[in-house]
């Protein structure tokens, strides 16, 4: 087995793990769990891209992985803003009442 085949095999394996992770997005049960699954899948996507960058000898693919890694926390930050604003507003409302 050549190195290229091994690295493609590894990428396919990580992709299969990503596919399994999708079931936890389906199941939840809470939105926080779904967000965690998305985070894990994002790391998987980054790993697949790095493997592809090395195996196809296209270093610019690393930039795509870099972009994904840099923007990885944004969805979670937006999600937790919405979770925290509803959480914080409700005690406020009872204070005023």
């Amino acid at each position: 087995m050549t190195m290229a085949n091994f690295l493609f095999g590894a990428a396919a394996f990580v992709l299969a793990m990503v596919a399994l992770g999708l079931f936890s997005v389906l199941r939840g049960p809470r939105d926080a769990d779904r967000m965690l699954s998305a985070q894990l899948i994002g790391s998987g996507g980054v790993a697949v891209l790095l493997l592809l960058a090395v195996v196809t000898e296209m270093p610019s693919i690393v930039d795509v992985a870099l972009m994904l890694a840099l923007l990885a926390p944004f969805a979670a930050v937006a999600f937790l803003r919405d979770a925290s604003s509803s959480q914080i507003k409700s005690p406020d409302a009872t204070d005023h009442a």
């Binding site: 190195m3 590894a10 926080a32 998987g44």
Partner: protein, 97 residues
Amino acid sequence: MTLAFDIFTVVAVSAGSFFFMAGTVGLLRFPDTMTRLHALTKVDNLGLGLIVVGLLPRAEGLLGALKLLSVWIFVQLAGAIVSQLVARVARREGRHT
């Protein structure tokens, strides 16, 4: 020398892929949000980390290697901070319900 590097790559990438599997299984099997956070950190730190380390010998020069490492650091940073934020929401929700 090349053979030694190749063996190193195969071992590290395989180990990294194993931690991706461990993380995904953990995500699916662990009972609550807090324990699932634990699974996520395995993937970010060890899974992606070992794959990056395994690919280092095949990186394009020093700059390419630095780029690979910075991708890993970004993902770790995102994972650590998102875990903190999600844990806060999960704990608050757990107390309220």
